[in-house]
Symmetry: C2
């Protein structure tokens, strides 16, 4: 059975994904800087490893078939960490994934990463880092799917989304729990490689909008 | 005659390059945010234009054959400007250069940009930005030459360099004036595309170390 590496497993989205995989007994390796942050999650098929994304974490890729990269300093940390984690750690993860010949690399990016110049925004440096990480993955040759959620909320999962960008920023919000569900949905499919999805709260089932119609 | 766009013309290295081209009457367009910063330089073949590298500066590439990108926030500005100028403005310049089908793009990068993980350094975020900009140019299809000088000084030009990395960081320093001379030397050659040079103060003439032996 395919084994998934979750990078950024103690982040808010990573945490939900790790918990889900532990509950459903899917083989997973959760990479965190501090194990104690995942002490509330246990699973027979869950392995938790401690590594620093600012160092060499290539060993985490041994025996791994699929990768979820959801590590991020967040738009609110300093841009030095944005450069070191959102850009550089993502770049290194892509290189390691290429060496390990993984079958799928799912990158959690951000709405706006397609065009950091589009709006005057104080998170433009963050969007530049996200754009360049996305671009590096796309050109890497590693089979990828990129998701770009709108502004994240801690609202309860609706289990419904849309991938069509709404007119106003207010409508773009999406619960982290639904981003996690979308990532798990993509992980279960083999035909979503090479896709980039924007994700917003909506009224559609995942398979209605994420799976190309035949 | 071939016309060169100098991006970052009011920076310390860009200033020397602009001054040299004005004196030798080589057709050049100097791009600056504030024209008054170049008011001390005049030349019959020198055109000075005002544009903001954080916006759209594609118009600067009209009629341009060669590009020198030496804009940089410097390792000491905040990492937000590093992301916006050293990385994002460089990325956009490469895109514009590609559209304009320029024959040569010379990028002034930094020693250490090849491997930001190599040393524990507080300029690692800066080196990450430089690495990703270099990487973007290399993969772009635009004919490029990248120079990665050691720590810059304001010492007088020696007119001599080396491209072999010295053992100690203390020996790596190089006068900005010699980096400018190296860039001008590369600009005068058509056979240095696809090369990446580290630059340090040394004892060799430019054509001894920068030109491949026949």
């Amino acid at each position: 059975m395919s084994k998934t590496l979750i990078i950024g497993a103690s982040g808010q989205i990573g945490n939900i994904i790790t918990q889900t995989m532990a509950q459903t007994n899917e083989p997973a390796r959760a990479l965190v800087r501090d194990k104690s942050k995942l002490s509330h999650i246990t699973g027979k098929q869950l392995e938790v490893i401690e590594m620093d994304l600012e160092g060499d974490f290539s060993a985490a890729f041994e025996g791994i078939d699929r990768v979820i990269f959801t590590a991020g300093s967040g738009a609110k940390t300093g841009p030095d960490k944005t450069l070191l984690i959102d850009l550089w750690a993502a770049k290194k993860a892509v290189d390691y994934a290429k060496d390990a010949q993984v079958k799928q690399f799912i990158l959690v990016s951000s709405i706006g990463a397609d065009d950091p110049d589009a709006l005057e925004s104080n998170i433009k440096p963050y969007l530049v880092a996200k754009h360049m990480a996305d671009d590096y993955l796309i050109k890497s040759g590693v089979p990828y799917t990129i998701v770009r959620p709108g502004p994240l909320t801690n609202d309860k999962s609706q289990g419904k989304i849309t991938i069509k960008r709404p007119d106003s920023r207010a409508e773009m919000a999406i619960p982290r729990a639904d981003v996690a569900k979308a990532v798990m949905f993509i992980l279960s499919k083999d035909n979503l490689n090479g896709k980039v999805f924007e994700l917003f709260n909506g009224t559609y089932d995942f398979d209605n909008v994420l799976v190309p119609s035949a």
